[in-house]
């Protein structure tokens, strides 16, 4: 698996750290506890296209938003987050 960073070009996955599901939205400070439980612990975990964050730790240090198919590891798109 390789990612094409918009800043650094095509790079090995070893340069990146995975930050997980990019579709989660942090609840407001007054939100119900159940909203926090959902945010912290619950995941859709789809088999197929997945939106996720990757941090280009070993190079430009930008967080990227990647669409990737979890069944094949095909990278569908990479954008700045």
């Amino acid at each position: 698996m390789r990612l094409t960073c918009p800043f650094c070009g095509n790079r090995s996955i070893a340069e990146f750290s995975y930050y997980g599901d990019a579709t989660l939205t942090r609840p407001g400070s007054n939100a119900e506890q159940s909203a926090w439980v959902d945010y912290v612990y619950m995941r859709d975990n789809p088999a197929g296209p997945h939106s996720e964050f990757w941090y280009h730790e070993a190079a430009c240090r930008q967080v990227l938003r990647v669409e990737r198919d979890t069944r094949t590891h095909t990278i569908l798109s990479v954008q700045t987050a």
């Binding site: 070893a14 997980g20 912290v40 995941r43 996720e52």
Partner: protein, 416 residues
């Protein structure tokens, strides 16, 4: 046919022509009292215990592929009960005790080998943690021994004792731990369950759940609709996909874990050894290959194959522990999909849907749990209440704060 000296000798006389398939290949019935979804180790064990200990006989196991093609046939075969938390130790010890009697009980050679599991430590902090874990085990009546560096060296002289970065300072040994032939576990439970009348339906995929008024009525499958008022889900890495059929979201991410095997060599490694300065475990199979693995790749995956950085990382750990490994060729590597929970511990519980039960979230360590997970899921399905050693494995613990985080890894899957 019962396996015995007699059956082996009589087959030898007939030129091995009289062996029969180990289980039937029946057509699905219209209705069962209970369906277990997933023909892995856990699902098959559950069906066996439902029939043998809980008196249910009209049972089916539905498996989307072939029995044993999932994680039960992909793992590194290590079994142990050297856990730390009170919610975990009694469960894994129940499992280890079941392993100890399994082969006699199901009349099947699963090659249960209590060759010992040795967890090495490499710093003062790690030593203290190992002592604490050993004490926790002993408080639960599970034996553990602390070995000094010299004692480790006397047993395993080929490890790297000159490693300045990761010195081997000693290890915590559970002698009753070891390995079990993983495929034989699936086949043995399948055969034993079949004998008690359980229908094992292969190439039968769950595609939907019929639910009315909050209760489950049956399973939509690739081989037609099958009615059942009790359905147990035991699909490992596919837990989220199957739970979604009942409208549930789980505290689970699916990740790929890779295992490796070297070419076969003469006996060298006589126990399971784990490297504490990273996360690496190795043992030698009875065929002679060295079987080893490390951590999950660390990103969501259903692909059943990992990436090269994980191969590199695993090999680096192997070389740091046992430099002689550099002389061996790696034969194969393969991946399995792990149902990683947000605290690293499993779930065996009822769901909000009446009659629907969940066994999942086994992370990278569910093989050792096979007998107890099967028993506890069977108990739950038959009695509608948790088995006493599985009470902590609740689905709602993420909301109530009663997490069971052995490693303190939190919601970062790569840390479990």
């Amino acid at each position: 046919m019962k396996f015995s000296i007699r059956s082996v000798l009589s087959q030898a006389m007939q030129g091995q022509t009289g062996w029969k398939p180990q289980w039937r290949n029946p057509e699905p019935r219209a209705e069962y009292d209970a369906i277990v979804v997933g023909g892995g180790g856990h699902g098959l064990a559950c069906a066996y215990y439902l029939a043998s200990r809980y008196g249910l006989h009209n049972i089916a196991v539905i498996e989307k592929s072939l029995v044993g093609s999932g994680n039960v046939g992909r793992n590194t075969t290590i079994v142990r009960s050297n856990y730390l938390l009170p919610g975990n130790i009694p469960f894994y010890e129940t499992s280890l005790k079941l392993w100890e009697g399994l082969e006699q009980e199901i009349n099947y050679n699963a090659m249960v080998s209590q060759r010992g599991v040795l967890n090495l430590f490499h710093s003062d902090g790690q030593r203290d943690v190992a002592i604490r874990r050993g004490n926790a085990m002993r408080l639960h009546g599970v034996h553990a021994e602390l070995l000094s560096r010299d004692e480790v060296r006397a047993r395993h002289p080929f490890l790297d004792y000159d490693n300045a970065r990761f010195p081997i300072m000693g290890g915590l040994l559970q002698q009753r731990g070891g390995t079990v032939r993983h495929d034989a576990v699936a086949w043995g439970y399948a055969r034993a369950a079949d004998k008690l009348g359980v229908d094992i339906l292969q190439n039968c995929e769950l595609t939907g759940l019929r639910i009315e008024g909050g209760r489950v009525l049956g399973a939509e499958t690739s081989r037609g609709y099958i009615a059942a008022r009790k359905i147990g889900l035991s699909v490992a890495g596919n837990s989220s996909r199957v739970a979604a059929m009942a409208g549930m979201r789980l505290p689970v991410e699916s990740h790929v874990l890779t295992a490796f095997v070297s070419e076969g060599i003469k006996p060298l490694l006589h126990s399971v050894i784990t490297f504490g300065a990273g996360h690496f475990y190795i043992s030698q199979s009875d065929k002679g290959g060295l079987v080893f693995g490390a951590s999950v790749d660390g990103y969501n995956s259903y692909a059943q194959r990992g990436n090269l950085p994980c191969v590199e990382d695993t090999c680096e750990e192997a070389m740091a522990l046992m430099p002689a490994l550099g002389r061996l060729r790696m034969l194969r590597s393969w991946g399995g999909i792990m149902d990683m929970t947000m605290d690293g511990s499993p779930i065996i519980d009822r769901t909000p849907v009446e009659g629907l039960y969940l066994n999942g979230g086994w992370c990278i360590g569910g093989f050792k749990a096979t007998p107890a997970a099967g028993l506890c899921l069977a108990h739950l399905m038959a009695r509608d209440e948790p088995h006493e050693v599985a009470r902590a494995y609740r689905l709602d613990r993420f909301a109530t704060g009663r997490l069971l985080d052995e490693t303190g890894g939190g919601t970062n899957m790569a840390l479990h």
